[in-house]
Structures are given as C-alpha cells and as structure tokens.
C-alpha cells in the first residue's frame, strides 16, 4: 500500500462503503439516482450536517459539545419569540444567532477557565438550553414566518440546490481550509493531541477552546434558523436527540473521540454514508426507528473497526521484522 493510501486508509474505506451503498440503493429504486433525491437527502437533514461540521472541530480539539441540539432549539425559539413580539424578522434572526453564539461562549468559558470536562458542562447545556427553549415557548407552537424565509430551505437557489444546502457546502469548504490549511487548524489538532504540550508550546489553549465553543454555538444557531425555515413553525422540543446522529457522523468519519486526529473529508464522506444509508433503508421499507438502531450499531462498529485497523499495520510490521 502506498503511503498516501495508508494515511488515508479510513477515508478510502468510507469511500468504498459509500459507493457500495449507492450502488445497492440504485438497484433497489429507479428514482434513487435522481439529482432531486440527493438534494432531498441533504435538505431533510440539513441541520444535522451543518452542525456536524462544527462538531468535527470540537472533537478534534479533544472536547465534545452535547448541547448542540438544545442550543439549536433554543435559537429557533428565540427567533420565534422575537418574531411573535413584533421584532423585524431580519433583526430577530440576528438576535437568535447572537443568543446561540453566547450560549456556546458561556459553555466555552466554563470549559476553558475551570478545566471542567466539556462532557459535563455541555450536558448541563443540553438540559439547560432545552429548558430555556421551553421557558420561552412553553408548549406553544409559533409559525407564520415571512414567505422568503421558508424558501431558504426549499426553493432553488443555485441550480437545483436550495440556499441551506449551498450554505452547507460553503461551510464545508471554508471549514476544510481553516482546519487543514491554517495555523489555527494546526493548533486545534495540537491541543487535541496533548493540551499540556500545546500550552507549554505557547499556544493559548483557552482562547482556541473559547473560539471553538462559541463557533459551535453559532453554527447550532444557524441550524436552528434553518430548521425554523424548513418546518415553518417552531416548538420547544424540536431536534431532541439530534446529538446522537451528529456525533455518529463525525466519529464514523474517522475523527478520534480522544481528539487530535480526523479529517473533514472523512466527515463529509460519513455524512453521505449516513444519509444514503437512511435513504436506502427507507426505500427498502425499513422503519425510521430501526434505521436509528442501525446507525447506533454503525457508530460502535466504526470505532471497533478503527481499533482493529490501528493494530493491523503494527502487527504486519512486527511480523516482517521477525521474518
């Protein structure tokens, strides 16, 4: 195996799985290969895939953000509540995004300044911001947004793609450049590998973490706005349990839960696999709930497979050395 292939073995494996899924699905349904079907796949999960991009940064950094789905709902509820109280709609969106970004900022501040595990901090965020959403809307549902707003996720914007999908692709490219081509991206990896070493190398670890959590909150806010646009109305319980799907996408993409490794390319492939798999299972009349179980199994198996893959080259080299 050439070096580049060994380095990218996980992405290669994902690409093979993806092609396999697509080929299998194509034989199952004639409409599957339509461009519209692919656009639709992304359209229906746009919030998750958008958040997955930000989550990739956070997990590579060695942290986790369990609060994303709640912050997303919180932002959507802020938007709805502001809209209901007569705030101009553009301003309402700005307020919602600012609220989500501050939600991320506060959590990042606690993580960076106190050193408490982000698992706990964002678990508190998961419960707390869902609570805040509930305080805002109680059990009501608010809708009647402007027409152009609903079109963000529906109407063709660029070719067959709606605005939300274009936004996701832009985020993916910009994110990829930041993560893999800038010094900030390198710092994200270094901190994820070993935060102490990073600190002693003069990297401002707290600041990077603060930036990442704020960004994660902001992106969750964007997802919340997109969700409101797609559904046309908002309730406090939207997107419950999304964090499972999002984290699955990121980890399946080869990002290590311990931080320090993984690529955005892998995550993009994993996103395609998860979406196509759900679509394929749906076409094969597998219930949505069973699909969730399959995704859960995929999550475990993807890490098990990584563990095995990590051992393989080592064993082979040892065997060669002995021979």
């Amino acid at each position: 195996m050439p070096d580049w292939a060994r380095e990218r073995s996980w992405e290669l494996l994902l690409a093979v799985i993806l092609v396999g899924t697509i080929v299998y699905n194509a034989t199952q349904s004639p409409v599957y290969l339509d461009v519209d079907n692919f656009v639709n796949l992304f359209r229906l999960s746009i919030e998750k895939v958008v958040i997955a991009v930000a989550m990739t940064f956070v997990i590579i950094n060695g942290e986790i953000d369990l609060s994303v789905a709640s912050v997303m709902a919180f932002a959507a509820c802020v938007l709805a509540a502001a809209h209901e109280s007569g705030v101009p709609f553009g301003l309402a969106i700005a307020i919602a995004l600012a609220a989500a970004a501050s939600a991320g900022f506060v959590q990042g501040l606690v993580v960076a300044k106190t050193g408490i595990s982000s698992l706990v901090v964002t678990l508190a965020g998961l419960i707390g911001f869902r609570g805040a959403a509930r305080v805002l809307l109680e059990d009501r549902s608010i809708g009647e947004f402007p027409d152009w707003f609903g079109d963000l996720g529906r109407a063709d914007f660029l070719g067959p793609m709606p605005f939300a999908l274009v936004l996701f692709l832009v985020m993916l490219v910009v994110g990829g450049v930041i993560l893999h081509r800038t010094s900030f991206g390198r710092r994200v990896y270094v901190i994820g590998n070993n935060a102490d070493v990073a600190r002693f190398s003069g990297i401002d670890v707290s600041r990077v973490k603060l930036v990442l959590f704020t960004m994660s909150g902001l992106v969750a806010g964007v997802a919340g706005v997109l969700f409101a646009a797609r559904l046309g109305s908002v309730r406090a319980n939207i997107g419950e349990g999304f964090e499972l799907d999002i984290i699955t996408m990121v980890l399946l993409g080869g990002v290590s839960i311990f931080g320090g490794s993984g690529t955005l390319l892998g995550v993009a492939l994993a996103i395609c696999i998860v979406l196509n798999l759900r679509n394929g299972l749906g076409l094969a009349n597998v219930e949505a709930n069973t699909q969730t179980g399959v995704i859960g199994a995929l999550l475990i198996v993807s890490v098990l497979a990584q563990n095995l893959l990590d051992r393989l080259p080592l064993r082979r080299r040892e065997a060669e050395a002995e021979a």
């Binding site: 901090v121 419960i127 109680e138 199994a297 999550l299």
Partner: protein
C-alpha cells in the same frame, strides 16, 4: 513536621496549636448538598401554601426511588472513568419485558419478575461492558450506540403496543403504595426503604470492599491500576454489569410506579441519572464520588421536580432550565472545593515556603513528610 505545625505556619482555617480537623472532601460535598436541599425546601415552603404534607413526602420518595437507583448505577460506572448513557433504554426494555411477563403469568411470584428485570438489565449492561472493556470502544460511544440499539429493538419488538396497568397482577401495581413503617405521620414506602438499603449497601461496598476500592483505583488512573496488576477489564465489565442490573431493577420500579408502559418508557432517564450523580459530587473524570452523594443529588432533582409544579409563580417549564443551572453550579463548586482541599493537602505534605523563593512548585522537601499523606478517595485504594 506535624499537622499542627503546618496549620500554625499558615495561620489560616485552623487555629495554631490545634490539630487540623480532617473532613474529607466528599463529606463536605454531601453536607453542602444537604444544605442546598434544605434551602430549596425552605424556599418552596414560602412559595407554596401547605407545602409540607404527607402526600408530598410520599410523592418525592416514590419518584426518587427510581432516580436514586439509576444514580447509584451511573455512579458505579462513572467512578471507573466511563459513562453509561443507555440506562434510559435499559429501563425501557426491562420495564416493558417484565410487564409482558407479569401480565401473561399473573401467578408468577414477585421474586421471579424482579429476577427477570435484574437479569435482563445485567445482560444489557454486560453487552455494554464487553464492548467497552474488551473492544476498547470509548464508553460514551458504546452507550450512545446501545442507547439507540436497545430502544429501537424495543420499539420494533413492542409494535406500538402498550402494557396497561389493568393487565398487570395487583401486587405490581400496589407496590408503590405499600408502606413499610411510619415515623411521626410520614409513611416510609417499601420501595423507598429498599432503595435506601441499596444505597447503603453499595456505599459500604465501595468504601470498604476491595472491589469498590479497585473501581476507584481504575477511575483515578487506569494505567497505574493496570500496572499494579488489577484486572481492569474484568472490573470495568463488572461495573457495567452492576449498572445494568440496577437499571433493570429501576425498570421494575418504573413498571410498578406507572403501570402503563409504552415503548418509549424511560426515555431521557440517562440524563437524570448523570445529572444526579454529577450534582451529587461524582467526578466524570472518574476516581471520586460517593453513592450517598449521588443519592442526595437524586433527592434534590426530585424535590425540584415535584415542587416546581406546585409553585404558582413559575411554570413547570422552568424545570430543565433550573436543572441545567444546578448541574453547572454543582461542578463549578466541586472544582472550587477541590482546589481548596488540594491546597490544604499540599500544605500538609510539605512546608509551605514563603512567596518569593521560587520553590513552591518543586517538592524538594517532600520526602521528609511521609506521615502526612492525604487520604484521598483514591489514595488508599
């Protein structure tokens, strides 16, 4: 150098010439939690007319039974630096299947039904444990996966059918209202008494038995525990099995409390269990925390739960917002308390040099003091 000397030198927190009183940090956490519960009760008693009543006491104790068992289960796993996010699904599966069994075998003895619930839970816990300990998949990933797998299995197995209270034998449905004994007009329910016994038994086991000490040892430093020759994999597997078994028991309690069990029963309980443990001072980094603390955390959460609905000024919708803030407050307080104790311990462990000579961070004189090793939750494991 004795404790008194150091205390005298530092001149803070304990009077010169008196031996510093050792309060272990987990006792401080438990006591402050008791204080918080007391304050919460006090505040609510001003807000709600006729707050303290026998009925309220019953409500809290019946609902805390489930949360407390799950908090204990979660703590056993968290102490080993793992986490089990699948407990809600385990509760759902065991409650549903035990309900099915009880309604189709109404003459079966309670012991059999409970054994089925516990055994089933242990089995599901064992699956988690094997994947974590032997497959080396991080617990958060494993249990996030099994959370979905167990639940989706239950949904496809149940086919949307509901277990109804009518179909259950009467002993199951009557269990929550059975009273063990009464103290001054307050009825202590059988269920609550059993749960208190479980908490005490596991607290003693974790504090005194080798098994418990080893779990703490693994959590505070997995590599060191392995180096010391502990069978870490088997112990972690054991912790997951125990967690599953207790969750199964909680599933049985869930069945008897609600009677009507749908396929989504117990959803979200994993959050409550982690919340109770964390509020109770259990560190998610492993190696520290007590079951009494987790129990008190569960009590606080249920007191809030049962009280907020009765406060006319705020709606029940505040529940999660307050709970989230509470968890955050608890962990921040934990860090502050922890820092304070560490400072005191380091003062005990070596002479505290004056600022300016630059030796505060180099333990040059440490070997002198072998007698004053602090007894941390993990130090004597």
């Amino acid at each position: 150098m004795t404790t008194a000397d150091v205390a005298g030198l530092r001149g803070t927190r304990s009077r010169p010439g008196r031996t510093a009183v050792w309060i272990r940090p987990e006792r401080v956490k438990e006591l402050s939690l008791l204080g918080v519960i007391f304050v919460a009760l006090l505040v609510f008693s001003f807000l709600v007319d006729d707050y303290f009543s026998g009925r309220f006491f019953n409500r809290v104790t019946t609902s805390v039974a489930i949360t407390a068992v799950l908090a204990v289960a979660q703590t056993l796993v968290i102490v080993t630096r793992n986490i089990d996010l699948s407990v809600g699904s385990i509760v759902g599966v065991t409650a549903y299947l035990t309900g099915q069994f009880a309604s189709s075998n109404p003459s079966a003895s309670p012991a059999v039904a409970i054994a089925i619930a516990v055994g089933l839970g242990a089995l599901l816990g064992a699956i988690n444990g094997v994947i974590v300990a032997y497959g080396r998949v991080p617990a958060i990933i494993t249990t996030l996966g099994t959370l979905a797998i167990y639940r989706s299995w239950l949904i496809s197995h149940g086919e949307g059918k509901t277990i109804t209270a009518d179909s259950l034998p009467s002993w199951v449905v009557d269990l929550p209202t059975r009273t063990a004994f009464s103290i001054g007009g307050l009825d202590i329910r059988v269920v609550f008494a059993v749960v208190v016994v479980i908490v005490v038994v596991f607290q003693v086991a974790m504090q005194r038995l080798r098994w418990g000490r080893r779990l703490y040892a693994i959590g505070s430093n997995p590599e060191a525990a392995a180096q010391a020759g502990l069978p870490t994999r088997r112990l972690v597997l054991g912790a997951f099995i125990a967690c599953g078994a207790l969750s199964g028991f909680a599933g049985f309690l869930f069945l008897s409390r609600f009677g009507n069990i749908t396929v989504v029963a117990g959803q979200g309980l994993e959050l409550d269990s982690v919340a109770a443990a964390v509020v109770g001072g259990v560190s998610v980094l492993g190696g520290s925390g007590t079951l009494v603390g987790a129990f008190l955390g569960a009590v606080l959460i249920d007191v809030l739960d049962q009280s907020l609905v009765r406060v006319p000024q705020v709606s029940e919708f505040w529940r999660n917002a307050i709970l989230g803030a509470l968890i955050l407050a608890a962990v921040i307080a934990d860090v502050v308390i922890g820092r304070r104790f560490r400072r005191r311990w380091s003062a005990e462990a070596r002479p505290h040099t004056k600022v300016g000579d630059g030796s505060t961070d180099t333990p040059t004189e440490a070997p002198v003091l072998t007698g004053a090793t602090p007894r941390g939750e993990s130090g004597d494991a």
